[in-house]
Symmetry: C2
Subunit: 231 residues, 2 copies
DNA sequence: CGGGACTTTGAGCAGCATCAAGCGTTGTGG
DNA sequence: CCACAACGCTTGATGCTGCTCAAAGTCCCG
């Protein structure tokens, strides 16, 4: 039995475009790999030699300046696609935030397979268009929002995306979840410093908008207010 | 004779994936349209009903907050693709910066045509992946760079992209060009205020790094220094 | 129980925004 | 042909947001 058949993300990942036999063929060119938190799969400015699908866990895409400032440019969840097929370089590194499982393909193998399976390319195109849209809307946050708006928007976004890292995707949202980010990483997503993020968190807590049972746990107590503060 | 045959961007746009007969077929579902500076083709949060290819001119993609802050999330040049095929909404408006010519398609017509022409979808995928990469690298600028780094990076980027709005694309760069942006629009690209942009321009001029013969003209006098300041 | 990493809190400062004139260019009508 | 209005840009003065530097607190791990 093909391992993709039992894959948790089978129905949402790009391979949902394929028949059973095709999935099996794709399976022969890919291999599963486990990543520990902090472990990188791809480095910035690498020649693109591999692509992958997320099976489990959360990973960050990040770039930085020479003098060490970092910006997280994307976060990927189960069923998301990673890497840059069809030539070109990835301008960012890919690093696991939680322990993660990915399905890795050699870039050349994947390129060839994709070119022979238009339905897969179509899925990948839809996914890439959606990701581009999401990324663009994040630019408004980075360029124009204040620290408090940034943090509020971030918490809303996380509560929506952390729902269902399993199979169904129904656009719900959580009022209690575990952040896959450290404070520094939240800062790197929002273009802020760790101190500013921390201060915004404590302010929201003292206002009763959220609760912080532990470092990584968030409870949203007043979603309307949080949305109001998101700008 | 099909009008696309004579189209200036014929060899670089996504339709370069098509045969003569296919281009002719695509041509029957599209129509050319002229835009004046400031005129919009698509509005934010519109249900996506049309897509287009840029033939001539420069257009901006922009979003804003309810209270009027604006962020330009992308700039498109000849041969670039505009819009959101395959369902979904465009989260940004599309507005001409210069007078522009575009080749417009009804979204449903285009969707259907694309699904039947995998080579075209492939080209569109490559283009979308490249655009996503470019957009992500811009996030580093918005989130982590200082005003002076932003302006320097912007000028370098413009000098590279304004080369060849015609047919060949050889990755050269210009040392003299006309900005398709007002100061306010530069500010909206960089996430700054108009005053800060103006001050950075005058500083660079007084340092002899650039020259400003007129409001819209830029001359790069010391590209090395500009690149050094880009961070 | 102790060491180290992460987070919070505080004080002071700088960079950029805001508010407010002044200037130059372009276009219009007398 | 000139006056002047409108617009976009520049320049200046001031203040606030978020950064920097510093220290204390908390959690997690052995």
């Amino acid at each position: 039995m093909s391992s993709c058949d039992t894959c948790l993300v089978r129905n949402r990942a790009i391979c949902s475009a394929l028949s059973g036999a095709e999935v099996e063929a794709l399976n022969t060119i890919g291999r599963h790999r486990t990543l520990e938190p902090g472990q990188s799969l791809i480095w910035e400015d690498d020649e693109s030699i591999l692509v992958a699908n997320v099976v489990e866990g959360v990973l960050k895409l990040s770039t930085g300046t020479e003098d060490g400032r970092e910006q997280i440019v994307g976060v990927v969840y189960p069923a998301d696609f990673i890497g840059r097929p069809f030539g070109g370089r990835t301008g960012h590194s890919v690093t696991a935030l939680t322990s993660a499982k990915v399905c890795v393909f050699g870039r050349r193998d994947f390129d060839e397979f994709a070119r022979n399976h238009p339905a897969l390319e179509h899925k990948l195109l839809e996914r890439t268009l959606a990701e581009l849209e999401r990324t663009r809307s994040w630019m408004l946050l980075l360029g124009r929002k204040s620290a408090s708006e940034k943090v509020a928007t971030f918490l809303i976004d996380m509560s929506e995306r952390l729902v269902d890292t399993g199979c169904e995707g129904d656009g719900a949202s959580l009022s209690r979840f575990e952040l896959p980010f450290s404070r520094q990483q939240v800062a790197d997503v929002l273009g802020l410093t760790i101190e500013t993020v921390s201060r915004q968190f404590t302010r929201l807590k003292s206002e009763g908008v959220i609760d912080l049972p532990s470092r990584r746990e968030i409870v949203i107590r007043n979603r309307d207010e949080l949305e109001a503060q998101a700008g």
